[in-house]
Symmetry: C2
């Protein structure tokens, strides 16, 4: 969370366009409105921009009119980073808590967000556009350079039936006995990872059995207290990033 | 987070009264209203109760009238646990995010919540009653048996001036180089602990220097991304509970 890596107070925008020396980018209408009318920036103001591929760039604002701007790339302020290959699979919560869950997963450096519909999942439909908007907002605010992919929601049985042979699953199992989670994670070999967090009330018994039958699954205990889904997500990702990810680089 | 330790669907109440074999407790008016009119429980219904000292008890509801109930202790369902001696010191965020921060700290098993007013803290007053209500609600919902103490808010300089000689401070320092946080925590000797999380925008340079001058301070890096205060709190507590607390018991 190094605030000092760059100026946290500078506005920071995700731009869906190539960034590089000499690049000029026209932000979309909402972004132009935000720069001109919310932040009240004028011609010559500097902002930071990223696209998930080309690192972070200082961009100079060129005001073409009271409604239209162009952003002119000045210099790269940070090189692109590569996230851990870490999928975050979660039973979606409702509304505000889902927003929160998505923001947290972005801050914690997940590389893909996978909503899974379990038997006890209360939410029946997932608003993927809202999830993507939350990903971008969290990335803009938290200095994140890599945007996690947002997958379509998938039914639990289908997720398991299609499980790739090379991806290790870390299963936050509320029925696992309390046991050193760091030792459990250290026993996981290097390679593609996923972590799965159940719905409120947990996975149902058949789902638990199916998870434990996967060839490459690690049960993870997150202590003796019940954690809400979003709390469990941050806790599990903190441990995984510390043992296998970019927190100990 | 073992849901299976007890019936998660049973209503669970904090009662500010001794609990033991034969104890009869009169819940307060709000709680009675909740049991009778929100949950619509009738005479003979069972609920779970805890007081932070005597473990968790199954209580039978005796309806005295349409407004008044007594709860009659039947049997202890879980013995009292002792939390890690782990103070959670944090710059309060505003409104909903503060509620969230408090709930998370309860789920994560902090033993005391200490709001600290730093130079960059945006919130000028802390509603301690609201914090305490959030502690109770989170404990009720998450099966927590120990309620953390809620301290009065304290100014940063005073907190440091009064720092007890025997308590190690884990300082989530956003300027610390990214470095294995588990190794950093393993180097902390056993004993009373505290963790401190700064405000949005971080501690100011003088505050950082003062923190680093404490005799027993450990700098903790939480990775290369900026984390919001509530995210940093859960992440730090997950790592601390795993290395020093009750997650590896």
């Amino acid at each position: 969370m190094p605030v000092s890596l760059y100026d946290f107070s500078a506005p920071r925008l995700y731009l869906d366009a190539p960034l590089g020396a000499g690049a000029q980018v026209t932000p979309d209408r909402d972004q132009s409105n935000y720069l001109l009318n919310v932040l009240r920036l004028g011609d010559g103001a500097d902002i930071l921009a990223f696209n998930g591929r080309d690192g972070e760039w200082r961009m100079r604002l060129i005001a073409l009119s009271r409604k239209a701007v162009v952003l002119d790339a000045q210099e790269q302020t940070r090189p692109q980073t590569t996230p851990a290959d870490l999928h975050y699979i979660f039973a979606p919560l409702k509304h505000a808590r889902l927003d929160y869950m998505v923001q947290k997963a972005v801050e914690m450096g997940a590389s893909a967000l996978v909503p899974v519909m379990t038997r006890r999942t209360q939410s029946t439909r997932v608003n993927l556009d809202r999830m993507r908007a939350n990903v971008i907002e969290a990335a803009e605010q938290c200095g994140v350079l890599c945007l996690p992919r947002v997958d379509d929601d998938v039914k639990f049985d289908r997720l398991l039936a299609q499980w790739p042979a090379d991806r290790r699953l870390i299963f936050c199992d509320e029925d696992a006995p309390v046991k050193d989670p760091i030792a459990a994670l250290r026993a996981v070999p290097r390679g593609p990872l996923a972590v799965i967090i159940g719905p409120e009330g947990g996975f149902d018994p058949l789902e638990r059995e199916a998870l434990l039958r996967l060839p490459h699954v690690t049960r993870l205990s997150l202590g003796p207290r019940i954690l809400r889904g979003d709390t469990a997500g941050v806790a599990a990702l903190a441990l995984i990033q510390s043992v296998h990810g970019d927190w100990s680089a």
